[in-house]
């Protein structure tokens, strides 16, 4: 059984059907949504979408790690990463059946 996968295309189709935007502007709209989210994260701000979940940018400090293949120790530089925590509603719905 193939699990379905939601992509930009399906989201644009929904916007087209539900709100009546043309296919083309619906696609643009979806792109803009993710652009805005991206820009916000790149500024280092977090995004809280109550029904969906929260995105935060976490600063990881540098640490000493090991190359698992060679056993060599090396420093892993400090980095930023985006983490996502699904909303309570989503977590509960997912585990309710």
């Amino acid at each position: 059984m193939k699990r379905s996968n939601l992509t930009r295309k399906e989201l644009a189709q929904l916007i087209n059907e539900k709100i009546g935007f043309s296919q083309r502007s619906a696609g643009e709209l979806v792109d803009t949504v993710f652009d805005v989210l991206k820009k916000t994260l790149l500024k280092g701000d977090s995004i809280k979408l109550v029904q969906f979940g929260t995105f935060t940018v976490r600063n990881k400090s540098s640490r000493v790690g090991r190359n698992p293949r060679t056993g060599e120790t090396m420093e892993i530089s400090k980095r930023n990463m985006v983490s996502f925590r699904p909303s309570k509603v989503v977590r509960e719905r997912l585990n309710s059946e």
Binding site: S4, L6, I19, V36, S46, M81
Partner: protein, 94 residues
């Protein structure tokens, strides 16, 4: 940023009325929340993907009391940052 700020930013960028930006944002977020709630995955190029992982049950411990408890099997959505965003978030200069 919260949902209403997202809607404002959308309306401004696309030069559409707030009402349209609002229903569009709601449609998209609802569809994404529904997908995850149904155990489906989401894949947005340049942004990232969401995949639901399943965990079996395991024995955990209450960190406060040290009491052993059984954790029921559960499903949890995971977000994997897209390559583009992952790189940009580490090079804010670009």
């Amino acid at each position: 940023m919260n949902k209403s700020e997202l809607i404002e930013a959308l309306a401004e960028e696309l030069k559409v009325p707030l009402r349209d930006a609002s229903s569009a944002a709601t449609t998209i977020l609802d569809a994404m929340a529904d997908a995850l709630a149904n155990g489906e995955s989401i894949e947005i190029r340049g942004f990232g993907s969401f995949v639901v992982k399943e965990y079996g049950s395991y024995y955990g411990r209450n960190p406060k009391t040290g009491e052993k408890i059984k954790v029921k099997p559960k499903k949890l959505p995971f977000f994997k940052v897209g390559k583009e965003l992952k790189e940009q978030v580490n090079n804010p200069a670009k």
